[in-house]
Amino acid sequence: MTDFSANEQSIQKAGHEAGMGDYFALLKPRVMSLVVFTALVGLLVAPVPVHPFLGFVAILCIAVGAGASGALNMWWDADIDAVMKRTASRPIPSGRVAPGEALGIGVALSGFAIVLLGLATNFLAAGLLAFTIFFYLVVYSMWLKRATPQNIVIGGAAGAFPPMIGWAVATGGVSIESVLMFALIFMWTPPHFWALALFVKSDYGRAGVPMLTETHGRDATRRHVVVYTLLLVPVALGLGLTSIGGPFYMAVAVVMNAWFLKGAYDIWQRDDAACEADKHAVEIKVFKVSLYYLFAHFGALLVEAALRLYGLGGWSW
């Protein structure tokens, strides 16, 4: 009872008590929506049908697992989140949720999602989900993020696993298709984030996070955007030649890659004076294009799968 009262007093001092919305915000719902979309595509384009309820539970588990890793990331990064304008209003730095609560929720939801996914589908999918959470928390958040400007490059793998997990849910295995879906997100992440870093430059520096813009300068970052976009193109087109690709996907991929490459080239051609003059209009535009890029590629895979139902998708018709 004493503890209970003390808890009440501390809450009253803080002036706020966490509600469900605050806990939900810990799960990074916007990131979760991208995870749900790519995992769902991975599951639906696989050649093995999945019972709709098992598919629903699998996607729920992947979403909860992604949310759990988001909560664990917020617990670990609370100190730098408080410094950056973009993240200062997150539940922990704003004082709405205690760090220990975020840790507890992250650990509990991770265990729940992994075990339920294993029991509902198969343990390869569960193992991949466990590895994703481990990778995001330990390899990216704890190790790479504050240590190297290449943090985004390797850490991007954590966001690339969901379609591979969706594929594993359906097939129980890993194949060239799922590896290329992984590679597409993996190669897309660096130019996507560096475009963002080019127009929120001061934030990462203040937080002491070694983003490429701070350690190697903005010109080097612009060159990296072009190089990684060039490396992304063969991955995106290669995916179209596999069993889940087809003419429709390839047409979308050609257009989107040309658009993204043009944007990367435009960024490369600019200098700081031009950026200041138009308030980073090109960088902001390329960042938005990068979001359309990923949505269009996975959407096109979904369309190919739907066409295959009518004997139209793929390269065989």
């Binding site: 009872m1 009440e8 008590e17 966490a18 509600g19 469900m20 019972h51 309820f53 098992l54 539970v57 729920l60 339920l116 029991l119 509902a120």
Partner: protein, 67 residues
């Protein structure tokens, strides 16, 4: 000290408690749904029906019992 029903904490945490309640109901629905789907997906439903912590051969069709 006994917590009274009208304690201020109850109203303050009403939303949170309702949320936890909904999550638990959702969890029960998921486990129930998984059970139904998994049982219906058994190739031969007798795998499930003829085992009740001990084999129950009386539930097997006669031709298979005799084999």
């Amino acid at each position: 000290m006994v917590i009274r029903v009208e304690h201020e904490l109850h109203t303050r945490r009403k939303g949170r408690n309702a949320g936890v309640g909904l999550l638990l109901v959702g969890f029960i629905a998921i486990v129930f749904g998984l059970t139904v789907v998994k049982v219906l997906q058994l190739d031969d439903i007798r795998q499930f029906e003829t085992f009740d912590h001990a084999p129950r051969p009386q539930l097997m069709p006669e031709t298979e019992v005799g084999q």
